[in-house]
C-alpha cells in the first residue's frame, strides 16, 4: 500500500457530491448543447463560448497572480465561461466580450472574493454589461397586440414563420399525436417539437430546451442543484403569464401562452443554471421559496411573455438583490434564536 502523506479528515463518506463533482456534472450536461451547436454549424457561437472560457480562465489566472488565492478554480472558471458564452448572441464581437469578461470577473473577484463570495451572479452581470456596451447585438423581437391576444401565441408565431419548423417536425408530431397524446384525448400542432428541440434563437442557451430539461433531470437526480428555486420560479412565472399576460395587450384573463414563455427567452436555462448560482440564493428552504417566487414575479414584469434576449439576466440580477435582504434577514433570525434558545434538557450538575 502506498504510504500516503496526505491527511484526510473524517468523515469518509458523504451525502452530497463535492463542489468539484457538481461543477463537473454541470459541465457534462452542457456538453450536449455544445455538440448540438457543432452539429447545427453554429460556429460563431462555438467560437464565442471558447473565447468566454479563455477570458474566464485569464481572469482567474490574473486573480491568482495578484496573490488573491493559492489555487485556481479551473472548473468554476470554465463553467462560468461556458455559461457566459451560451448566454451571448452569436453575432457579438469576440474581442469585446473577451475584454468585458476579464474586466468584470476580475472586479468581482477583487470586490467579493471566491466562488460564492458575491451575492450577485457574475455571469448575469457580464451579460448585462455586454448588453449595455453593445445592445444592438441582442436581438429584439416585437409582437403585435393581436398576436399577444391570441389564445396560442406560439402557434401563431410558428405559422407566421417567426419560430422555425424543422423537417423532422411533422413526422415526430404525427407519431406523438397517434401514440402518446391520443390516450390523453389531445393533440399538439406542428412546430412544438421544433420549439422544444431547437427554437432557432440567436442565443445558444435559448435554443435546445429539451436538452436543458434532460440536464435538469440529471442535476436534480444527483442533487447538484436545489429544486426549490427553479421550481417556484417556473411555477410563479408560468401562472402569472397564463393569468395576466394577455391583459397588457387587451386580451382576456387566463389566456396566456405558457409554451412561449417557457421555451423562449432562456427561461428554462436561466432557472436551472443561472438562478441557483452559488452564494446568490438564501440558505433556508423558506428563503429559497420566497426567492424563487420573487424571481418569478420579476420575470413576469421584465421578460413578460418571453422571447426577450436579456430579460432573464435582468430578472436574475433583480432577484439577487432581493436575495441579499433575505439572507440578511436569515442571519439576523439565526442570531436572535441563539440568544433566546435555552440549553438542551439532560444537563449535568452545573446546569449546562
Amino acid at each position: 500500500m502506498k504510504n500516503s502523506s496526505a491527511i484526510s479528515l473524517r468523515p469518509f463518506c458523504f451525502i452530497f457530491p463535492s463542489l468539484n463533482m457538481m461543477t463537473t456534472c454541470m459541465l457534462c450536461v452542457l456538453v450536449p448543447h455544445i455538440i448540438m451547436l457543432f452539429v447545427t454549424s453554429s460556429y460563431s457561437s462555438l467560437f464565442l463560448i471558447f473565447c468566454s472560457i479563455f477570458a474566464s480562465f485569464c481572469a482567474e489566472t490574473l486573480d491568482k497572480i495578484l496573490l488573491r488565492k493559492k489555487n485556481i478554480d479551473i472548473q468554476i472558471s470554465i463553467l462560468q465561461g461556458v455559461l457566459i458564452g451560451m448566454l451571448l448572441p452569436a453575432s457579438y464581437p469576440p474581442a469585446t466580450i473577451f475584454i468585458t469578461i476579464v474586466f468584470t470577473l476580475l472586479v468581482f473577484k477583487y470586490a467579493f472574493g471566491g466562488i460564492a463570495g458575491s451575492w450577485i451572479n457574475p455571469v448575469a452581470i457580464v451579460i448585462l454589461v455586454s448588453y449595455c456596451v453593445a445592445p444592438s447585438f441582442f436581438p429584439l423581437v416585437s409582437l403585435s397586440a393581436e398576436q399577444l391576444q391570441a389564445q396560442n401565441t406560439s402557434l401563431l408565431l410558428i405559422q407566421d414563420g417567426i419560430l422555425p419548423v424543422h423537417r423532422f417536425d411533422s413526422v415526430v408530431t404525427d407519431f406523438l399525436n397517434n401514440y402518446v397524446f391520443s390516450f390523453l384525448g389531445t393533440t399538439i400542432p406542428e412546430g412544438y417539437v421544433s420549439l422544444l428541440w431547437d427554437s432557432g434563437a440567436a442565443i445558444p442557451a435559448f435554443r435546445f430546451n429539451l436538452l436543458t430539461l434532460f440536464a435538469s433531470l440529471v442535476m436534480f437526480s444527483f442533487r447538484i442543484i436545489d429544486c426549490a428555486v427553479p421550481l417556484f420560479f417556473l411555477l410563479v412565472y408560468t401562472v402569472l403569464v397564463k393569468l395576466f399576460c394577455p391583459l397588457f395587450a387587451g386580451g382576456t384573463i387566463a389566456s396566456g401562452d405558457i409554451i412561449l414563455s417557457l421555451f423562449t427567452g432562456g427561461t428554462l436555462f436561466t432557472s436551472f443554471f443561472v438562478l441557483p448560482w452559488f452564494g446568490t440564493i438564501p440558505l433556508t428552504v423558506f428563503g429559497r421559496v420566497v426567492y424563487g417566487c420573487i424571481a418569478g414575479v420579476a420575470a413576469f414584469f421584465i421578460s413578460g411573455y418571453g422571447m426577450s434576449s436579456a430579460g432573464s439576466m435582468f430578472t436574475v440580477v433583480f432577484a439577487n438583490i432581493f436575495s441579499l435582504f433575505i439572507q440578511l434577514h436569515e442571519q439576523k433570525k439565526s442570531r436572535a434564536s441563539l440568544s433566546v434558545r435555552n440549553p438542551e434538557s439532560g444537563t449535568n450538575k452545573d446546569g449546562e
Binding site: R10, F14, F16, S18
Partner: protein, 428 residues
C-alpha cells in the same frame, strides 16, 4: 432535515450472524496507548518470558487500565509504530512461544454477585477494560468519576453502533445478548447503581424480555435508521422526551456499548482479561468481509489475510467507522482495545475530499441536529476573528455527529473547527 443512515451509506448494510476466530499470530505488537489517556509504562523488558494474560504495562494512575499480553512468548523489543488512533506510539513486540493459559481452557463461571462494589471495580481495572462507547476511556476511572459527581449513576447500555457503517456492537448484542446484559449488571454493581437503561435498535429480536425478570432494567427502542441516534446527547435527549419509557439520563451517568459490556462479562465471569476483541473487517479492497475475534496486537495486514487478502490495492484504512473513524496508512498498525471496525477502502470507494471555499449552500445548518450554524463558526475561525459569545457558546452544543462535514460540498472541516472552538471556549 432528518438524515437516514441509508443516505450516508451508499451500499447495503451487512448483517453478520457468526464471527471467525482469527489464527493465533506468531507475533504481536501491544501498544502502550490503549485508551485516550497517557501511555502506560512497560513492566517487562526485552528478553522476558510472558504468559498469556500477564500484565506487561500499567499506567501510573490508580484507576487507569492495565495492559496484558495477548499471547504467551518472549518480549522481543520495544518499537515505535503508528497506531489506530493515527498517532505514533511505542509498543511491545512479543514473539509467540509456549502454551496458552487462557485460550481454549475451560473455566468455571465466577459468581460475582457476592463481591462488594470496590472489589468489582478493582477487578475491572485489573482486567484492563476500556470503555469504547465514544472515546476510549478506562472503565475504572469512569466509574470513579461518575461516583464523585452523582451518588447512584444510571448505567446506560447501547446495543447498537453509533456509526451507521459499523455493526460490531449490534452483532455482539445479538450473539452474546445474555452476557452483555450481565456485563452491564456487573458495571452497575461496581458503580453502586440502582438502574440500568438498555437502548435497543428498532426491530431487534433478542427473544427475551428482560423487564419481566429484572426490576433494575428498563428498556427503550431507538429508531437507528435515523442518524444521529446512538451518541450520548441523543440518548439523553431520547430519555428526556415527553413520552419516554425510561428515566431521565444526564452526562454524569455511565454509558456503555455492548462491546464493553461483553468485555466486562468475560473479565469478571470468565476471569479473562482483555486480550482479544471482536471486530468488523470489511471494505471493497478485501476479498471478503465479516466479524472476527482476534488477539490484541495483531496487524491489519494479518486481518486482511484472514479474509483472503486484497483484491484491489487499498487506498485507505479506516478505523472505527466511515463517519467517526480515523484514517491510517500503515498495514502493520496493530489492533488495540479501542478498535471496533476496520475498513479497507479501494480507490473507487474514496469520496472526493478536495477542500474548496464555502459556497453558502446552507446544507450544514439544515442538517445540524443541535441547530448550530457551522458555516458561520467556520468563517469566524478562518478569518481569525474572535467569535461572538453567542456563537462560541453555540459550539459547546455540538454533539460531534459530523453531519455538517458529510453534507458540505466544499468538504470543509466544520466539525473539527467547532471542536477547536469548543477547546478555546473551555480555555477561556
Amino acid at each position: 432535515m432528518k438524515i437516514h443512515a441509508c443516505d450516508i451509506l451508499k451500499y447495503e448494510s451487512a448483517e453478520y450472524s457468526e464471527n471467525l476466530n482469527a489464527f493465533v499470530p506468531s507475533q504481536v505488537v501491544v501498544s502502550l496507548v490503549q485508551d485516550n489517556g497517557k501511555a502506560a509504562v512497560a513492566t517487562v523488558k526485552p528478553g522476558d518470558v510472558v504468559e498469556e494474560g500477564q500484565v506487561v504495562a500499567a499506567s501510573t494512575s490508580l484507576n487507569s487500565s492495565v495492559i496484558h499480553s495477548p499471547v504467551p512468548g518472549i518480549v522481543d523489543c520495544f518499537i515505535s509504530r503508528s497506531m489506530p488512533d493515527g498517532r505514533k506510539s511505542s509498543g511491545i513486540k512479543i514473539k509467540m512461544r509456549g502454551e496458552f493459559s487462557l485460550f481454549g481452557k475451560p473455566k468455571a463461571d465466577v459468581s460475582w454477585t457476592a463481591f462488594p462494589a470496590t472489589s468489582l471495580k478493582r477487578l475491572l481495572v485489573d482486567s484492563g477494560i476500556v470503555n469504547t462507547f465514544e472515546a476510549a476511556f478506562p472503565i475504572g476511572s469512569q466509574i470513579t468519576s461518575a461516583l464523585q459527581k452523582k451518588k447512584s449513576p444510571v448505567v446506560v447500555l447501547r446495543m447498537f453502533d453509533k456509526d451507521p457503517s459499523c455493526f460490531t456492537d449490534r452483532f455482539i448484542a445479538k450473539k452474546y445478548h445474555g452476557q452483555v446484559i450481565e456485563g452491564a449488571k456487573i458495571v452497575a454493581a461496581a458503580a453502586e447503581s440502582k438502574s440500568i437503561v438498555v437502548f435497543y435498535p428498532k426491530n431487534f429480536d433478542h427473544g427475551h424480555d428482560e423487564r419481566k425478570d429484572d426490576t433494575i432494567l428498563s428498556v427503550a427502542n431507538v429508531d437507528d435508521s435515523l442518524y444521529p441516534c446512538g451518541g450520548k446527547r441523543e440518548l439523553i435527549k431520547f430519555s428526556c422526551a415527553k413520552n419516554s419509557e425510561v428515566e431521565k439520563l444526564c452526562d454524569d451517568d455511565i454509558f456503555l456499548d455492548s462491546s464493553t459490556a461483553f468485555s466486562v462479562y468475560e473479565a469478571v465471569v470468565k476471569s479473562q482479561p482483555v486480550v482479544d476483541k471482536i471486530i468488523q473487517v470489511s471494505g471493497n479492497a478485501l476479498a471478503g468481509a465479516g466479524m472476527i475475534k482476534t488477539r490484541i496486537g495483531v496487524s491489519m495486514r494479518s486481518l486482511a489475510a484472514e479474509y483472503g487478502g486484497f483484491v484491489k490495492a487499498p487506498e485507505k484504512i479506516i478505523i472505527n467507522g466511515l463517519l467517526h473513524g480515523t484514517n491510517i496508512s500503515d498495514l502493520d498498525t496493530p489492533v488495540t482495545k479501542y478498535v471496533k471496525s476496520i475498513f479497507f477502502l479501494s480507490k473507487k470507494d474514496l469520496a472526493d475530499q478536495t477542500v474548496s471555499d464555502c459556497i453558502h449552500c446552507g446544507k450544514c445548518r439544515s442538517v445540524c441536529p443541535s441547530g448550530l450554524v457551522p458555516d458561520m463558526l467556520y468563517a469566524f475561525y478562518k478569518l481569525h476573528r474572535d467569535p461572538d459569545f453567542e456563537y462560541l457558546n453555540m459550539a459547546r452544543k455540538c454533539s460531534g455527529c459530523v453531519l455538517c462535514n458529510s453534507v458540505c460540498p466544499s468538504r470543509l472541516p466544520l466539525s473539527q473547527t467547532i471542536s477547536i472552538l469548543k477547546g478555546l471556549q473551555d480555555e477561556k
